[in-house]
């Protein structure tokens, strides 16, 4: 019980801390931040329920007005801006990522985590992000989708790194990978 709580809180803090990792800019000028990798790690390491809760907790603190998002952003305004849909999709993205890692145990953890991060952390997250963008910017869904495509390559890189990190963490701290416990 205490472990569930501290893991959830510490991962919410981890997402915040990853927001301070300097941005890496891809060859074609699109910045990628480590924060959405934190969302993937929440799912792959904590599992569906705890991972989703950790992200919810993080977003709650952002909504309360703490500047925890990359670039020191925070506050209620972010949720109604054009990228607000991505934020709303984050907890569900972590949940789906965690669910896949919990259920699919036949392949190596690195492969499972990478695939789970792509399905949860990219596919699910973009569904919400694109819907949010379509509403705020009054565009059709395909048009909104087109506006986000530039970020996909960076997110695939992050999913692969999240997969490798998860399998390395499972070696370093096997008892801490709660998605595979029990």
């Amino acid at each position: 019980m205490e472990k569930n709580l501290t893991y959830t809180a510490l991962f919410a803090a981890l997402i915040a801390a990853l927001g301070l990792v300097p941005k890496i800019t891809l060859a074609f000028g699109v910045p990628i931040t480590a924060q959405s990798m934190g969302i993937m790690l929440c799912g792959t390491i904590l599992g569906a329920k705890r991972g989703g809760l950790a992200v919810l907790l993080f977003l709650l603190l952002v909504a309360l007005g703490l500047p925890l998002l990359s670039g020191g952003r925070g506050g209620l305004g972010l949720f109604v801006s054009a990228s607000g849909g991505f934020l709303i999709g984050w907890p569900i993205a972590a949940f789906v990522t965690g669910l896949i890692v919990e259920k699919w145990r036949s392949a190596s953890l690195a492969v499972v985590s990478t695939v789970a991060s792509i399905l949860g952390g990219i596919v699910v997250m973009y569904v919400f992000g694109i819907a949010g963008m379509a509403i705020v910017l009054k565009k059709s869904l395909p048009d909104a989708a087109m506006l986000t495509m530039a970020f996909i390559p960076g997110d695939i890189v992050k999913a692969v790194i999240a997969g490798l990190l998860t399998s390395a963490i499972a070696k370093a701290r096997p008892a801490s990978v709660l998605s595979r416990a029990a």
Partner: protein
């Protein structure tokens, strides 16, 4: 950790946080049902006036928080210049700026403690369904406490990397960083249990 609440006291700081949040929800929802450019322009002018009322320093810090919108404004502007739907483009931009500005205004005029009070109030019905509200409050406190701790640990890790290599550490420090966070989580869990744990808190 410093919250985004403005240190410049305004009258709105003393209003009920629940009321401000309720009004914000209703207004934002309403904005998305109105299509008139004139309405949105007048509304935005009203929001700008609200920002201007507490003085220059407040206005400037409000402006700083809105700067993150410029990529979206640019995209919409270019898009609608291309399709020649100028009025529609202007409406979308003005509505987005007004909605975000109004929400930021609530964030800037509401203290963290008042916000947490609202969360506590909203969580109360869920307590009957079995949600441990004290656990929720403890997790909020833990995140606020542990974020600066993790940030400083991350900084030490990247300094340790820089002392040994002239290349940038990039994502490679994230592995030891995550392991440190997991160890911290274990230690904090043990410390909580040693002090009676979560069940003890419920009894109080």
């Amino acid at each position: 950790m410093i919250s985004l609440t403005s240190p410049i006291e305004t009258r709105a700081h003393h209003w009920s946080a629940g009321l401000k949040l309720g009004l914000l929800c209703a207004t934002t929802l309403g904005l998305f049902f109105v299509e008139s450019l004139i309405f949105h322009s007048v509304f935005l002018l009203g929001v700008i006036a609200l920002y201007a009322m507490p003085g220059k320093a407040f206005f400037i810090s409000g402006w700083q928080h809105l700067k993150m919108l410029w990529p979206f404004i640019l995209v919409v502007a270019v898009w609608h210049l291309w399709t020649q739907e100028f009025a529609l483009g202007a409406t979308i931009i003005i509505r987005m700026v007004a909605a975000v500005a109004l929400a930021n205004l609530v964030t800037m005029t509401t203290r963290l403690s008042d916000m947490i009070e609202v969360v506590r109030f909203l969580a109360r019905p869920f307590a009957r369904l079995g949600l441990n509200t004290r656990a929720l409050e403890l997790s909020i406190a833990l995140v606020i406490r542990m974020t600066p701790v993790l940030v400083s640990k991350g900084q030490s890790l990247s300094w340790a990397w820089k002392a040994r290599s002239n290349k940038r550490s990039g994502w490679r420090v994230i592995l030891p960083f995550t392991v440190l966070a997991l160890d911290d989580a274990d230690h904090v869990a043990e410390a909580l249990r040693a002090r009676g744990g979560l069940t003890n808190m419920e009894k109080k």
